[in-house]
């Protein structure tokens, strides 16, 4: 009997092995290598690594750019999470109320930013953000408002990046919400209507609770991916400037590693960021799982 159990377990591990091996090589090994590198000073080219102990971590704690990037990342993650969870939800609810051919038109139009390459989207936004003759400020001028210098002003640069990222990524969440909404059984709404519930009550007491697993998925993926989604627009639109005003943690690691070639220092920053997000994700899972209705 123990022999059979052992064999069954061995077969299970065998099935797991390919995925486990790939994950070990391409995910966990780089994590370990990066953490190791964070205790060295190395410029990618030098044949020797100089051991520096915790010096990289100490320098990071005193680096103004790191704290600014941390604040900006938190700001951007909060804004992106709020906007790319709420906006697609409202749009999905609205689009499903449209009937016939127009529903598909709206779906295509709203999803289309997602399939455009981020680099090309940024090039288009670069032109739209132009403070003197860009579309945005021209429209604002018609409304009697003096638009900001979107990309070269310290107060607006991070918002310019957030706007582009929201525009580029909300379509994905929109499609997921559409699928989530269509999966809610129609008879629940019918039962609600028979009982005299208003549209608002239907949304509040049927749509939102039954959409909770979808919202949890959208919320978690958006929160975890949003700092990564900031990288390309930051690189193309502002390079983290002016004076670090639009920098974020992901881009800072790139700057330290591939602009200043302080690979050990960049690894220290990457390790800190990894631990930070690991903790945040664990907290999120713990709390979020308790408030989700799976409709069972």
């Amino acid at each position: 009997m123990p022999g059979r159990r052992w064999r069954a377990a061995a077969i299970g591990y065998l099935y797991l092995a390919p995925a486990a091996a790939l994950t070990a090589v391409f995910v966990y090994w780089p994590l370990v290598a990066s953490a190791t590198l964070s205790f060295y000073d190395w410029n990618l080219v030098s044949p020797t690594w100089a051991a520096v102990g915790f010096a990289n971590y100490r320098e990071l704690a005193h680096n103004r750019a790191f704290w600014l990037a941390l604040v900006n990342t938190a700001k951007a993650a909060a804004a992106l999470t709020a906007l790319t969870v709420l906006v697609p939800l409202l749009l999905a609810v609205a689009v499903l109320r449209v009937t016939g051919w127009w529903r598909n038109v709206y779906r295509v139009v709203l999803f289309s930013p997602t399939v455009i390459s981020m680099a090309i989207a940024c090039a288009v936004w670069l032109w739209m953000f132009h403070p003197l003759h860009g579309v945005l400020n021209t429209l604002l001028r018609y409304a009697g408002i003096q638009g900001p210098r979107w990309l070269s002003s310290g107060s607006s640069a991070i918002w310019a990046i957030i706007i582009v990222t929201v525009w580029k990524t909300f379509g994905f969440n929109f499609v997921i919400y559409i699928a989530g909404l269509l999966a809610i059984p129609a008879e629940m709404y019918e039962a609600g209507r028979v009982d005299g519930a208003s549209e608002r009550q239907l949304f509040r007491h049927i749509t939102l609770p039954l959409l909770a697993p979808t919202t949890l998925f959208v919320f978690l993926t958006t929160f975890i991916l949003s700092p990564q989604n900031l990288f390309v627009p930051t690189q193309i639109l502002t390079q983290g400037g002016p004076n670090e005003a639009s920098n974020n943690l992901g881009y800072l690691v790139y700057q330290l590693g591939f602009e200043y070639f302080r690979v050990g220092y960049a690894s220290a920053a990457a390790t800190v960021i990894f631990l930070l997000f690991l903790g945040l994700t664990a907290v999120q899972f713990y709390f979020a799982e308790r408030r989700v209705h799976y409709g069972r």
């Binding site: 080219v45 670069l126 310290g154 002016p242 070639f261």
Partner: protein, 426 residues
């Protein structure tokens, strides 16, 4: 039977030998391909690079040039280069900006070119010593100066006319620029001037040299951004943006677009853009003059451009790279290059030679501004040591903070210089 075995085995050995020889011969006849990395985008000399490759390959059938554009100007190229060196797959040859030569020469394995002075003395004839010095560090020749550019002031004569100013008399000093700029702003409602703001501090160094300062102390121990001359120059820039509001604070792409579309009257940037400016100015004919002087002080500008450095470790690749260098700096190569960009040829006599660049200089009046500036060219100082790239970034961030206008230039520059100087080699 035995004889048959001997014959068969001999013929087998011969066949194998001939096959190997044939393979080797075929390999010898195959052209060698070398990678050439450059910063020349389609709007910044890219077509000229393609033309150079075409002509070179026709003359040298044994060598193929795989030219690769690297985005992010010289800093961007340098980053890719460091990554490629880490992967042990560097290009055979690359353009290294003058501001980064000390960093590249100090950090990267590359070919020291002094040996070619002996083997190819003819090549070096006609390139002035002060130009060749741009590739010399610590007494050794690390790279051959290729693109040589100066900053100039492009301007839109129509906006001068619209403001009631004489377009034939653009400002020659900063005081004149401030005065005429205020008139342009008042009469046309347009901004007067844009000083380029890419991811480098070339124009900042030009302002510091121009006001009589030094970007780096002579002993190389102190960054000169906190000198009175530097503070005065950068404060002037801040005042133009923040107080008199005659200057634009825009990213590089935005600034160039705004100038070319007629929203800004003057634009200080590289002569290397003259071809692009000429072809893309919307509804006006661009003109160019030297950058303004500070009062009665002599003109002084940072020299832009790059050296060609060889990173090939294979002797055949190195030889091919050297052939490429010889061609692009030859009268024929330099003519293609200067016409397609506006960079000045290191061999100055080509500009007056009717067989090469004289017709071009006669027909491209904007080039006169660069030629007038050339005698006053000072180095684009490259910060030495392994932290040179960080120093440049500190100074760029200081400029960005200054132009935001929240604090005066002096404390920002003092802090930045202190921080930057601490990273210089002791």
């Amino acid at each position: 039977m035995r004889r048959q075995i001997v014959v068969r085995s001999t013929s087998l050995v011969l066949t194998v030998f001939l096959a190997l020889c044939g393979g080797a011969l075929a390999r010898a006849a195959e052209p060698i391909t070398i990678e050439y990395w450059h910063i020349n985008s389609p709007t910044f000399g890219g077509p000229a690079v393609k033309e150079l490759v075409q002509v070179f390959e026709a003359k040298n059938p044994g060598i193929k040039i795989a030219e690769k554009f690297q985005p992010g100007v010289y800093t961007g190229l340098m980053q890719q280069l460091q990554v490629s060196l880490a992967a042990k797959r560097p290009p055979a040859i690359a353009q290294i900006g003058y501001n980064l030569t000390a960093y590249a020469a100090g950090q990267f394995p590359h070919v020291i070119l002094d040996k070619y002075r002996k083997s190819d003395p003819d090549f070096f004839k006609g390139i002035p010593d002060n130009i060749m010095a741009l590739g010399v560090l610590g007494g050794s020749l690390h790279g051959i100066p290729f693109g040589v550019s100066t900053p100039v002031m492009f301007y839109n004569p129509d906006l001068f006319k619209a403001a009631g100013l004489n377009p034939d008399q653009p400002p020659q000093t900063w005081d004149e620029l401030l005065r005429q700029g205020a008139i342009i702003k008042q009469k046309t409602g347009k901004l007067a001037v844009y000083l380029q703001q890419p991811n480098d501090e070339w124009i900042d160094q030009t302002l510091i040299w121009g006001n009589g300062g030094r970007p780096l102390s002579e002993d190389g121990k102190h960054v000169g951004w906190d000198s009175p001359q530097a503070i005065e120059a950068m404060q002037m820039w801040q005042d133009m943006v923040d107080k008199t509001k005659i200057a634009a604070n825009l990213t590089w792409e935005e600034g160039l677009q705004a100038f070319l579309s007629g929203h800004i009257a003057m634009c200080l940037t590289t002569i290397g853009r003259q071809d692009h400016m000429r072809k893309n100015a919307s509804g006006f004919q661009v003109r160019a003059v030297p950058v303004p002087r500070f009062g009665t002080k002599p003109l002084a500008t940072a020299t832009g451009g790059n050296v060609l450095m060889i990173f090939a470790s294979d002797p055949a690749q190195e030889k091919a790279a050297w052939e490429w260098i010889k061609f692009v700096l030859s009268p024929e190569g330099a003519t293609i290059w200067t016409k397609g960009t506006g960079y000045l040829p290191p061999r100055a006599e080509l500009a007056t030679d009717p067989r090469y660049l004289k017709p071009f200089f006669d027909e491209a009046p904007m080039m006169k501004a660069a030629l007038q500036t050339f005698p006053y060219a000072r180095p684009w100082v490259s910060f030495p040591g392994s932290r040179g790239l960080e120093i440049t970034k500190i100074l760029i961030k200081a400029r960005e903070e200054i132009l935001e206008g929240k604090r005066p230039a002096e404390p920002i520059l003092k802090e930045a210089s202190q921080q930057a100087s601490a990273l210089l080699p002791k």
